[in-house]
Subunit: 146 residues, 8 copies
C-alpha cells in the first residue's frame, strides 16, 4: 500500500525532514510533496511576470503562481499534514485545511498544545492532532502497514 | 436580484452591523448570515453534550457543533465576506476562505493593509480585497444593482 | 434561520415526537422529515408491485421503494439525526450515516452509552453524539438561534 | 482487465483469505485491500496520540485514524465486498455500504440467509447478495474474465 | 411532503393523464413535468432555426432544442417515471433512464411483462417496475403519504 | 413551467430588450438576468477598492468583481443565451460558453452567419444557433409552452 | 497519446473486431474494453447467486452483476462507441448513451441511416455519427494521431 | 514532480515548440499535449463522416470530432497554457479558458499587452499572465522545481 502525503504549513523548522526520515526508517511507501519552502523564492514566485506597483499586487501575482503548485498537489494527495508553529500567522496553512475539508481530503494537524484553542475549528475537521513528528510517523505507519 | 451573504471571521468589532446598515441604506435585497458571534456561547456550544476533561476535547466537541451551522450557511451563500482583524489568530476565518475556494463559492476579504503579506494566499483566492466596510457595501451595491 | 432535519433510525419509541415537541417549544423553524415509520407498511412497501416467492425479493422490492423516499429526503436535509436503540440490528441507520458522510451532509447520533464502542466509526463521522432527545433539541436550538 | 476490490466488514473468520485464494486460483488480476483487521490494533489506532479520559474519546480518536485508511481505500476501489457475520453489530460494515451507495461505488454483500430481513436496505443498494465466498469469487471471475 | 415527477417515454397513449388523475384523486402534492408530447411539434422543434437538407441534421437540430427542456426537467425531478410501450424503438426513454442512473436520480419503469428481458439493464437501475399506472400511483402515494 | 435565462455577451445593441419583449408578448414565465451592461460602469467595477497604476491590474480588479455577479447568475440559470456581434473581441462571451459547457448548463448562441466559422467550437457545444432574436424567443416559447 | 475506448451495444456481428483490427493497422495506442458479449453467459451472469422464481428476478440479478463490469468500464473510458443494429431493442445501448451524456463522457454512435430518426436524441448527445466501422477507425485515428 | 500541460489557442506561430524546448532545456518532467494544430486537417476533422450541405453543419461535425480530443486532454491536464495572438478571433481559446475555470483546472494566459483589456475576464480567472514563452517556461520551472 502506497500513499501520497502533502506537507503543508510552517517553513522555519525541519519538521518535513523529520517526517520523511521517520517514514523511511519505518519502510513506508510514501511520496511526500510540499509547497516551495524557500521563503524568499516563494515571495518572488511571480516576479518574472513583471514588476508591480504595490506590495499587494506583487503578493497577489506570486500567490497565484504558488497556487498552481499547491492546489494541484493537495488534490493529488491521499493525506495532508498541516503544521502550525508557535509564531507567524500561517493563514495559508489554515486555508489549506479548509480546502481539504471541502474536498473531503483527510488531513492531520501538527502543533503544540498551547494553540489548541485558536485551532479548534481546524482540528475539528482533522482526522488527528499530533504534537510531535513521531506521532505523525506513527500515524502513517499504522495507516499503511498495520 | 437577491443574494445571500455569509459574514465570516472576527467577532470583536461591529463590522457586521456596519455592512448590514450600509446594505439596507442602499436598498439591497440581501439575506445576511453569520456564525454564532457570542464568543462564550460559541466556546460552550457542545457543553450540553457532556463534560470533557481536557481543553482539546471540549474545543473539539464545540467546534463540531458550530460546524453544523457554519458549513451549512457557507454552502447556501452566494458570497462570503471574510474579516481579519489586527490581532488574534483567526485561523477559522482562513479555514473558511479555503473552504470557499474549494467549493468555488466567491468570497471577498476585509482587512487592513498591514496584514496583506501573511494573507496573500487567502487574498489570491478572493474576488476582492476591501479595507473598509464601505468598500464591501459598495461591492455589494455594484454586484446587485449596477 | 430555518432548517430541514431528517430523523433516521429506530422506530419503536417516540423519540421523533419528543424532538418535534422540543423544537416547537423552543420556537425553532424546522421542517422535520422521516422515513415511513409504520413497520408493517414499510415491509410491504413494494407488495403492490406483484408477489414474490422468497423473502429476499420481497424485501428487495420494498426496500427499493422505500429508498425513493429516504434518499431524496436525506439529500434535501441540512442535518440528519440518526437514532440507535438498544436492540435490533438497525443496519439501515448505519447505512444512512455512511450515506451522509459520503455526501458531506452533517449528522448527529442519538444513542445510549452502552453502544458507544460498536458505533465508533459512525460516531467518528458525526458532528455530535447525543444521549437524550433533550440534547438533540438543545443542539438544534444552539445551531438555529444562538 | 484488472480490478481493485476492498474487503469490508467482519474480522473474526478468514473469509478474506478464502476470496483471495479463490481469485488467485482463477487467475484473476485483482488487488485486494482491507481495513486493519487486527481488532486490538484497530481499537488502539489513536492511542499514540495521547491518553483520553473516557471510552468515547478513545474510540473517537482511533476511529478517525482508521478512517484515513478505510475511506481512501474505498474511494480507490472498483468494487467493495461487505461481509456481515451472524453476530456483532457490524455497524461499520453498514456504514461502508451507505458510503459506497452515495459515492456510486458498486458493492456486493456476503451474509447468511438468516439476516436478509434486517439487511434489506443494505442489500437493495448492492449489485449482488452472496451467501458464500465461492459466490463472491465466481462473481469476480465473471466480471473480469467472462 | 411534495415531489416533482417527470414522466418520460411513450407518447401514444394517455398514461400520463391516468397517473395525474390518480395522484390528484389520492390528494398527493406532486408537480408533474414531461417532454413535449406532440409528436409533430417535437420533430419540428428546431425548424424555426433554418432549413436543413437532410433528415439527420433536421433531427439533430430538433433534438438539441428538445434537450433544453428534457434535461433541465429531469435534473429538477425527485423521481422520473419511464414508460415503454409495446411498439416503437423508444431509445430516448432508455437514454433518459441511463441519464437518471448516472445522476443518481431515482426512476421507476412502466411497461408490460412481455418486454422484461430486453429492458433488464434499464430495470436493474430502477427503484421499481410497474405494469400499470395504478401501480405507479400507489408507489407515489406510499412514498409521499404513508 | 418557469425558467431563468442569462443573457451573455455583446452590450452595444438592444438585443436583450428584444428578447424580453418577445418573451413577454408570448406570455412566457421567464426571469431574465444579465451582466452589468453599462460599459463604463463595468470597466470601473473595482475602482472603489483602490487605485491601481497599470491597466492590467485595474482590469483585473474590476473583472474579479464582475465575476461575483456573472458566475453566480450563470450557475443559477436554466439556459444561457450568448450573443456575438460583428465586431469587438467578445472573449468574455466565449469564456461564458466554455464555462457553461463544463458545468453542463445548456446555452444557445445568437450571431450572424458571417462568423460561423470562427465560432465553430462555441456552436458545437450549444443547443442551438439563432440568427435573430425572434428565433431565440421562438426557442424559448417552444421549450416552455409547446 | 493513448486512449481507452469502450465498445457498447449490439453483440451479433463482429463490429468490435473490425474496429480493433483497424485501430491496430493504424498503429493506434488504444485499450478497447467491452461488456460480456457472450449472450447466454450474460443472461446467466447472476445464476450462480441462486435460483429465482421468475424471469424478472433472474434478469434483475444478472443485469446487476453485469453492471459491475459495464459501469466501471464506462467510467474509466475516454470515449465510448455505441452500436445499434437494425433489429433487437438494444435499450441497454441507449441506456449507456444516456449514462455517458450525464457523466460528460464523449461517445460516438455507429448505426445505419435507416434508424436515424428514432435515434435522434441519442445522436444529439453524441460527438459523431458513424455509418461504418471504417469511419469509427478514421475518427479514432484523427483524434489520436492527427 | 511531473506535470501534464495542455497548450491551447493560436496555431500560426511556433510558440508551442518554444515552450517545449525551454522546458526540455530546464530539465522539467512535463508531458505536453495540444489540439490538432494543422488548420486544414482540423477544419476537415469530420469530413470522413459524410458530406454536409452547408458550412455550418460541416463546421459543426468537425468541431464535435475535435472536442473528443480537446476536452479529454484538458480534463487530464494539471495546467493549461492559453495563447492569444494579435489577430484572429480565437474564440475557441477563450472557450477553453471558461471550460478550465468551471472545472477548477488552473490556466495561464500568453498574450501581448495590447489585448489586455478585451481579455480581462479571461485573465481574471487565470493564475498568471505571461507576455513571452520564456515567462511560461520560468513559471513551469518554478512550479515544478523550485
Amino acid at each position: 500500500m502506497s500513499f501520497t502525503v502533502y506537507l503543508s504549513g510552517e517553513i522555519h523548522t525541519d519538521w518535513r525532514e523529520e517526517i520523511k526520515r521517520g517514514a523511511e526508517a519505518a519502510g513506508l511507501d510514501i511520496t511526500f510533496t510540499a509547497p516551495v519552502t524557500d521563503h524568499a523564492a516563494s515571495d518572488a514566485a511571480g516576479d518574472h511576470l513583471g514588476e508591480t506597483e504595490s506590495g499587494f499586487w506583487r503578493d497577489h501575482q506570486s500567490a497565484k503562481v504558488n497556487a498552481i503548485r499547491t492546489r494541484t498537489l493537495i488534490e493529488k494527495s491521499d493525506l495532508v499534514v498541516i503544521r502550525f508553529g508557535d509564531q507567524y500567522k500561517q493563514w495559508n496553512a489554515a486555508f489549506d485545511a479548509g480546502y481539504c475539508a471541502a474536498l473531503g481530503t483527510p488531513y492531520v494537524t501538527l502543533h503544540a498544545e498551547g494553540i489548541v484553542h485558536p485551532l479548534k475549528e481546524v482540528d475539528a475537521g482533522a482526522q488527528a492532532w499530533c504534537r510531535t513528528t513521531d506521532q505523525v510517523v506513527e500515524t502513517l505507519r499504522y495507516v499503511l502497514k498495520a
